[in-house]
Amino acid sequence: MKFSLSWLKDHLDTDATITQIAAKLNAIGLEVEGIENPAEALAGFRVARVLTADRHPDADKLQVLSVDLGDGQPLQVVCGAPNARAGMVGVLGTPGAVVPSNGMEMRKAAIRGVESNGMMCSSRELDLGDDHDGIIELPADAPIGSEFAAFAHLDDPVIDVSITPNRPDCMGVYGIARDLAAAGLGTLKPVADRVHPGAFACPVEIRSDDREGCPAFFGRVIKGVTNAQSPAWMQARLKSAGQRSISALVDITNYVMLTYGRPSHAYDLARLNGAVVARRALPGEGITALNEKHYLLDDSMTVIADDNGVHDIAGIMGGEHSGCGEDTRDVLLEVAYFDPERIAHTGRTLTLTSDARSRFERGVDTDFLAPGLEILTGLILDICGGEASEAVHVGAAPAGGKVVRYEPKLAETLGGIAVPDEEQRRILTALGFEIATVSDGGADHWAVTVPSWRPDVDGAPDIVEEVIRIHGLDDVPSVALPRAEGVAKPTATPMQARERRVRRAAAARGLNEAITWSFLPMAEAEAFADEPLWVLANPISEDMKAMRPSLVPGLLMAARRNMARGASSVRLFEIGRRYLRGNGGASDERLTIAVVLAGDRTQRSWQSGKAQKFDAFDAKAEAIALLETAGAPVANLMVMGEAGAQYHPGQSATLRLGPKNVLARFGTLHPRVARLFDLDGPVVGAEIDLETIPARKGAATFTRASYTPPALQAVSRDFAFLVPADLPAGELVRVVKGADKKRIVDSRLFDEFRGAGVPEGQKSLAIEVTLQPVEASFTDADLKSVSEAITVAAAKQGAILRG
């Protein structure tokens, strides 16, 4: 909401400076977004009289003017405007002035060989309107030589205030003046209450057939108007509000809306036929609105129509057909009350916003229909002439007079500041509330009647807000929250603690944390989707359309960007949610960590020679380490296949706790996927579902199981087996370890070999087994029995002990 200082002062009697006003507006919740003085942009543009106008010697369409600025030293100015002529008064831009429409600084220049000392300006050049057919013509008595901005009422600071959606009353200058007066910044001037009785009965029938959507429809006809330009003062006001001047009638309706928050509409009576009725639109009906767009309507919308059809999308925008133009002689005025929800629904359905809609859907003053109509009538009669009919009042706006039960002590118990009762009473009264004290058995309370222009106020907390915002929110004293008794407990859940630990561990392992978009392009999302995706109905772009089913694609895209920037080694991770379909139409959002490694694991070096690329074991190492940090029982995990179609079928696996419980998947990305993401060379990745990892057992206590390191030294023995080439080495290691649970504490594979000495279709695996004696050192017989147990267990996997 923008308005000029002089406009505010029409309604507020105040000596306050613009700075004081701005500070107070901020303090009472009307946030000032900016203050601008348009006169600053028009500095150097002055009122000037054309003394003579002669043809340019070298250009048909140019004239050479002699222009008087009142100092007796006429300037020579070259001008191309067809209406430039001797005797006229216009606006001269003098050297140094900056043309508002294009930012060019005026200079002395030669135009086709003739010196020009400035420019006679059009409305468009000064950003004052669209007119560019000729230069501005000012009245003959305009003060020659004076600053044009002052003459045109533009030397007037403009305040831009952000109005919160609960305050339709402040979508008019008058409402802002009322708030400022209540806050002690001046006196609110009364609204003019001139009533125009009307010289004849209204010749048009006005009706509402949709009392729900349009409970009140007030109107009248004014005959014999002249719809020329509105007066300069009104144009200046509208300009300060950021509105263009259109014609006197349109400007007057806009002016009343901007001044009192009261929208209205003026129809050209000549374009209407029969009764003018508020009703539901019929299916299939349409209208070309004043914005020149055509809208298809339906029966959920209220319209104003006559015998021929729809003329107005009620409360939102009028129709082009019956709008007022230059030749309008007779007008029908409409001042109505429309149901806010209906307006909101219609506006949303048509995606049509307007100044009227934003006021009606927030709720206009229910008691301001008749006064609004009279103010409108008075302005039209004054500016456009004509004769008014009697006013017609059909229906009534919803009754105001809402009463709120309020206890003044609430200012302290909710608002945190003690405000004396008298001060509360003064504030509320100044804002238009009426207070009656009610005694109910000892404790008094107030019955506060809410003014008709405050649809937002419906409870005691609203009254507290009114009191403290005017009293001064900054005066509320800080009061410490009471501390909980006893020792502080952890405030993070086990899952949050796990997330933090895993993040720090990943970073400590050399991975860089990225945060990538939750949305992906369709193709990239589909490549990682095993079930229907969540796809946005209104994405901001095609690249941000589907919710990610995995964190890997986002990291792959980040990896590609980094490689494109010349990174040779990319180690990325992200912790966040992936989005799948859940129960009951809700989402299934699991906290996941994903790792992507691309490019070189190690750079070429003097020690190891060529650069080495990442491989699936790097992904496995990250997966295992992060799982361990997350508290997974890593020793019990099984490496199994089926990592998914996104991975290389022979170089990927899952890590499972039991056959069905997949905690992680890892491996080399499928070359097809790498290509889709435009990545060269092997790219490896890992994904861990942080929510399926079981909580550590015994997590409820700090005490650990009792342990004493064994006194006897552990013994290690090596075993080499020939096994079928397709036997997973991990299986052999696992069964070897399980062969004698009492004595074997570890088994570790240290060699895998195929080739000379190993039969075709087989491989040799060498395992170091660690044995721990407990009470006595091992005897030869003990060691022999362990060896036999290992051999037997391995044989079940098809492994033969090598001699």
Partner: protein, 371 residues
Amino acid sequence: MADTDSLRAEALARIAEAQTLDALEEHRLAYLGKKGSISLLMKTLGGMSPEERSEAGAKLNALRTEVADAIAARKDTMEAAALESRLASETLDLSLPAPEMPMGSVHPVSQVMDELAEIFADMGFAVATGPEIEDDWHNFTALNMPESHPARAMHDTFYFPDADEQGRQMLLRTHTSPVQIRTMLNEGAPLRIIAPGRVYRSDSDATHTPMFHQIEGLVIDKGIHLGHLKWTLETFLKAFFERDDIVLRLRPSYFPFTEPSVEVDVGYSMERGPGGTSRRVVGGSGDDDGHAWMEVLGSGMVNRRVIEFGGLDPDEWQGFAFGTGVDRLAMLKYGMDDLRAFFDGDLRWMKHYGFVGLDVPTLSGGVGVPA
């Protein structure tokens, strides 16, 4: 036995001249071996009279010990020299690069979220979460934004074509506030929570990204009022920026889910940073010379209807809520100037603005990480 002196002189001279361990061993055998000259002399003691034997024995023993010590000393010297010379041949150029262990990094948003969790833990706030794919009831209706509410349209909401089983429209949450409702419904009162997380608005320009991070705070208890809100926000911002001169300005505002509603500005000044860029530095009153106010938080006393939607009795419980942007807090504290870079994954940016894994914010060690 007159020849022991010359034997001694000869033995010590030869030992001193020995150049190799082998030569030294030869000398040891020649003097101290079974048939060594000193050993042979020792054997002659048996044929002497007790008087002679006691004198000659003492002499010979002293000689044997002296020669043995000389051999050991010479051996030590030679071994030390050998080690010296071996080590000299093993010299490495330690200016060569060592194997690299790359350093990783924690994203500033994660770091700041951990900082916030730490600060609020000290005030007894637990961390709560909720879904990002929300339904319109939790995101709007229960926060006192019925369908026709103009504030709904101001949220630039991303919608899905889907509805859940209750017919609720699915959308991407536009704020972390639905977590208020979920937590009240699940846990009841009293409550002190913060809810950090991703939120989404259909908005993209230099200072807006369609995804960003918010943190929500909620206190529901008995007798909580606006003064408590003010203290909490002051304490939080002072702890976060680690400055005592943080000055807040409260302005009345409007949010459908709070009543009264308060916007919070913080005073700041512009300071010249490295490279001549100027940046906002929080501190001081915005009304001071060279200072201004900047909006940092939205807050207010929880609307009675919202408390009811949370399944609580607003006559019994009241409280406050606040929300702010985590990315923006990170930018203000650590000096990043482009929000879009947060979500690009540029390794160069991460190395510059990221945090070392072990820079864990703690109250005792400092919540922030100095530049």
